[in-house]
Amino acid sequence: MFAYIVKRLLAGFLVVTLISMMVYALFWYGPRSPAQELCRRESNNRCTPEKLERYEEALGYNNSVTSEYGKWAKGLVAGRDITVGASVIHCEAPCLGLSYRTRQPVFEEMKTRLPATISLAVGAASITLTIGVTVGVLAARRRGTFADKALVSTTLFMSSIPYYLFALLSMLYLTIVYDVFPQTGYTPLTDNPGAWFTGLLLPWLALGFYNSTSYTRFSRGAMVESLSEDYIRTARAKGLTSRVVVMRHALRAALVPVVTIFGIDFAFLLAGTIFTEKIFDIQGIGRWGLDATLIKDLPVVQATVLFGSIIIVVANIIVDIIYSILDPRVRLS
């Protein structure tokens, strides 16, 4: 087990390193002039070639890509000082560079954006899991009935609709046309728990409900399978109540694959729910990355991609370990 975890962590580290190199190379070789946007912004649209030259030099674009990547990686571990224009800004240990827009260390900004995304992801994921598994189990117990068939086709239809349209229309109709929900947005929990809750309620419901359709189908399938296992018949034959049979015997086995998928989905939510954050105006990681893209704030974009990849790599490892604990048949090697 321990050896397995170490092996997976090493492989994950390799993947993240490779992705960071790819992202770095993309930003290095990609834009014709990566400094142009920064130069234009800081000189009020009067970016002369000389100024551009100075910015490129300050950002290190005159050096070789390997030495700059080395500096960047070193900054990530030990922090570094960054010179922009005339000022020197110290960037603390996990240094991802300075935002072109605010000139603040990217990591500090990320910390202010994270709570919104985490709130959104946790709330939506709880709703998804609750609705999805409950409805899925109920449908599996009533397999073949009209209600079951209607449910399966409804969820199939629902998940065919692109998510962003579902979210957009629910936002427009439920907050603008009919005042069912208050204005959405993010208020820190510590500032005002009430506003935090009301502002996130609709995004939670929209994201949670939409995602629950696939969980309904999935847990229904898993449940149907585990209900037909021999040990369920044995449990019934022993005279256990149907409640105990379903909840303790069948559900436990059925939940194993659901947990796997849930782990990965949750990681993707944490990596940035771009559509949700744009539509419901929540200042989280996804929105941050999107805004940064539109103004070509390269260090921020780089940081969001890297952050998302790390979350997904880590989630994959955790899910595999949990899987082996939940399902004794799975051996890690």
Binding site: I161, L165, L169, Q302, G308
Partner: protein, 335 residues
């Protein structure tokens, strides 16, 4: 049990024990043919297919249809069709009745004709989705075949790259790449739209091939151990021929299913990218219209509903069709 030689091959005396059945003609039907007949009898599949067909025709003949209704995507001077200062159209919805010159109305702010935008939006959507699906399928099948058949180092490298790409969050990566592609290759302002168009296809392809590669690799791993492939190898059939004549025909069903379920995902992704502002901008796109229409929704909901209905209808029809194709090709579902 050992069989006498005569029973293995088809040569030898004809089997006299078999009583001649009625004079009914027995025709061999290939699995694809069976699947096709199942599809034809599935009402959901037929309706979805017809809807998709209509959209394809719209996409192909967008120009002709637009001309028939007398509408164009040409930029008009906004002042001639819009009221000031509300920026709402002078004729048609939301403030006036139906205008036969502009059946879908006029866009606020820009003054463009909605029907023309919608028609050419369908073209953009389907064209990008189709090219991206084709490219991603091609890459996925080739890499999957190599990984599954060659094995060893090839398999390990390709599987690693596949997992690597699956780790990168698609939307974030698209966010990172879209402006860079446009900036790098869109030097000529006249060709900027074209560059964006191919940029979107490139992004969709770059992050869309992995599932196909995994699927094909898995299938090839099991097929290559089957007797007919081993037999072909033993009698010295060249590898290229084994891949294309022995293995690939057995992969048609999974490829068709993956393509038909992948296409709607690409349609949705294309519109989603333009909605976020990182897709195509130089040509009409449904996603772009949705982004523009959101601001006007309160006074002009119809403006938003046009692209929404387009996307939902097309994506749902494609999805249901894909689902029906999967069921039809799956020998386990007997109806």
């Amino acid at each position: 049990m050992t069989l006498p030689a005569t029973e293995i091959g088809s040569h030898g005396p004809a089997e006299p024990e078999l009583a001649p059945v009625e004079n009914r003609e027995v025709t061999g039907r290939s699995p694809l043919r069976i699947a096709f007949e199942r599809l034809r009898r599935d009402p959901v599949a037929v309706v979805s297919f017809l809807i998709v067909l209509v959209f394809v025709l719209i996409a192909v003949f967008a120009g002709t249809i637009a001309k028939f209704f007398g509408v164009t995507t040409d930029t008009v001077s906004a002042s001639s069709v819009l009221e000031f200062p509300s920026m709402l159209p002078k004729t048609g919805p939301p403030n006036h009745g139906f205008d036969s010159n502009h059946p879908f109305g006029i866009a606020p702010q820009s003054g463009e004709d909605n029907l023309a935008t919608w028609l050419f939006g369908a073209r953009t959507s389907l064209l990008i989705a189709a090219i991206a699906t084709f490219a991603a399928t091609f890459i996925g099948v080739v890499l999957g075949l190599i990984a599954g058949y060659a094995g060893g180092v090839w398999d390990r490298v390709i599987s690693f790259v596949t997992d690597l790409f699956l780790t990168i969050p698609f939307l974030l990566a698209a966010l990172a790449m879209a402006p860079i592609i446009a900036d790098r290759f869109g030097t000529d302002p006249d060709r900027y739209a074209e560059v964006q168009f191919y940029g979107v296809i490139f992004i969709l392809t770059a992050f869309g091939w992995m599932t196909m590669a995994r699927l094909i690799r898995g299938e090839v791993l099991s097929i290559r151990e089957r007797e007919f492939v081993q037999a072909a190898r033993v009698i010295g059939v060249p590898t290229r021929k084994i891949l294309f004549r022995e293995i690939l025909p057995n992969l048609v069903a999974p490829i068709v299913v993956a393509v038909s379920l992948g296409l709607p995902a690409y349609v949705a992704a294309e519109a989603g990218l333009s909605y976020l502002g990182i897709g195509v901008t130089g040509r009409p796109s449904w996603g772009q219209t949705i982004d523009a229409a959101t601001k006007w929704f309160n006074i002009y909901p119809l403006y938003l509903w046009q692209p929404v209905i387009g996307i939902v209808l097309l994506v749902v029809a494609l999805n249901l069709l894909g689902d029906a194709i999967r069921d039809a090709l799956d020998p386990k579902t007997r109806r």
